[in-house]
């Protein structure tokens, strides 16, 4: 199933008709946003457009197709495969990952139990973020991550949302796992808490992560890192979007076990990360040996700067 089909099948019949008639390059399509009684919006090639009833991309809100409550309800039925119960844990976190690794963000009325979010009802806002696999996008940063021909540096990829950090991480994993003329492929353990990296569907990764990669799908990062080290003895551990206290404790465990770590985090710079209460400590203690900072100034996934453990720039983009 190609990306177009993966995306189109989750929409209600009406929306499917409108979106399928658009002439889109799905590689450039980044987001589709549905809001109850709001206009149908796409982020395409880094720009925002409204979609009209006649399936055209326009800049005028007045011409936009308005999404109804029923269309959102029908779309949610398809997203969850008629089985909302199967996504209870994901819904608590506010998103569902579908076949192909695309992330569906949802918002509505939260139901609380003992001050914790139990579920979300009356889902009225949906944000579909398309997952992109760009093979070779990590080639530029790999020489800065590699430490000889068999080892790598502990690396933290820092990026604001929608700047391609998961895409970069995916390709880094693939290349380190497969190896190439200057680097011997290493066993990589991936903890894919949100099924975004490998996009496993019924246990089978939909994205290529390399021949020496083991994936723990839908597993909490902190538990997963320890589990993988004990069970699969990886040389490299890769995780997406670290940040919680448990994550940081697990990172320390990984590093003390002699494994190398590649992680991503939301942020805009090293200084930004230093201000984070728990992760900031790891930066100050110089645990990470490489920091890759991304932006989307020229294109999504643009590598802005790469720093070493002391914060000295080892690479700087011209933009």
């Amino acid at each position: 199933m190609d990306k177009r089909d993966e995306i189109l099948k989750i929409f209600s019949l009406n929306l499917r008709r409108v979106i399928s008639s658009l002439e889109l390059d799905y590689e450039k399509l980044q987001e589709i946003r549905l809001r109850v009684n709001g206009p149908l919006i796409v982020i395409y090639d880094n720009k925002e457009y409204f979609i009209t009833k006649d399936s055209n991309l326009v800049n005028l809100q007045e011409e936009a197709y308005l999404v109804s409550q029923n269309e959102i309800r029908e779309t949610m039925e398809y997203i969850s495969n008629y089985s909302m119960y199967a996504f209870e844990d994901e819904i608590k976190q506010g998103f569902i990952t579908i076949q192909g690794g695309h992330r569906i963000g949802i918002a509505g009325k939260t139901i609380l139990e003992n001050d914790k979010i139990k579920n979300i009802k009356h889902i009225s806002f949906i944000n579909i973020r398309l997952s992109h696999q760009i093979k070779g996008c990590a080639s530029k940063v790999l020489p800065f991550i590699m430490n000889g021909t068999e080892d790598i540096f502990h690396t933290l990829i820092i990026s604001p949302p929608r700047c391609g950090k998961t895409t970069l991480l995916r390709d880094v994993i693939r290349q380190l796992s497969n190896g190439h003329s200057k680097f011997l492929g290493q066993s990589v353990g991936v903890i894919d808490e949100r099924s975004e990296i490998g996009a496993c569907y019924m246990g089978v990764p939909q994205n290529e992560l390399g021949i020496r990669t083991d994936i723990l799908d839908c597993c909490p990062k902190a538990n997963g890192m320890m589990m993988l080290i004990r069970s699969m003895s990886p040389r490299i551990i890769a995780v997406d979007e670290v940040g919680s206290k448990e994550d940081i404790e697990a990172i320390e465990y990984v590093i003390n076990c002699g494994c190398k770590l590649i992680a991503t985090v939301h942020g805009s710079s090293i200084d930004d990360i230093k201000t984070k209460p728990i992760l900031g400590r790891l930066v100050r203690e110089k645990i990470f040996e490489r920091y890759i900072v991304l932006n989307n100034r020229i294109t999504v996934g643009n590598v802005e700067e790469i720093y070493d453990a002391r914060g000295s720039i080892v690479y700087k983009s011209g933009v």
Partner: protein, 174 residues
């Protein structure tokens, strides 16, 4: 003339007896199908309880493991659900119950219960699914129990009635 009459009597008694056997077999078939249905629903409950498997996937896996009379029903259900064609789960379930179970010995009441199961599946959380399935299983168990109690008498009755009816018609003909 006598031979013709004898042949006629034999044919009448045999065909009438066969009708009796057919009806008694229907009762046995219904019993087996209710038990098979229970097995299927238990598998579905297991898939939901332990693996939180979405319904289309769970039904497809169960269909691949069962070769009985419900295979078509399960496969059709899973196929329709995967098509995401603009109809609700309840409508798809009802449609499949109506279309795919005509060859079975299930009664109208059995189909109504099965149809009601589909009305609440997929809705709300895991607990709701388990409760809905448990309710249906208890309904199935009641039916199986009632049928077990009366099956021996009923099959015997149908067999006897068939033959008796044949003899009765034969006497009238003679």
């Amino acid at each position: 003339m006598l031979i013709t009459k004898i042949i006629g009597v034999i044919l009448t008694v045999c065909s009438s007896g066969a009708i009796g056997i057919y009806f008694s077999d229907r009762i046995k078939d219904r019993m087996n199908e209710l038990k098979e249905l229970k097995k299927i629903i238990l598998s579905l409950r297991g898939d939901i309880r332990y693996a939180m498997t979405p319904l289309p996937e769970a039904l497809k896996v169960i269909a691949s493991r069962h070769e009985g009379k419900f295979e078509t029903f399960l496969e059709h259900l899973s196929k329709e659900l995967n098509e995401l064609g603009g109809i609700t789960f309840q409508e798809i379930w009802k449609k499949c119950v109506e279309e795919d179970l005509n060859e079975t010995a299930l009664t109208k009441k059995d189909k109504v219960y099965l149809g009601q199961l589909g009305e609440n599946l997929g809705y709300l959380d895991k607990e709701m699914q388990i409760n809905t399935i448990d309710l249906y299983i208890s309904q199935l168990e009641t039916e199986i129990e009632e049928l077990t109690g009366s099956m021996k008498e009923k099959t015997h009755l149908y067999n006897c009635l068939g033959i008796m009816l044949g003899i009765f018609i034969a006497i009238i003909i003679i």
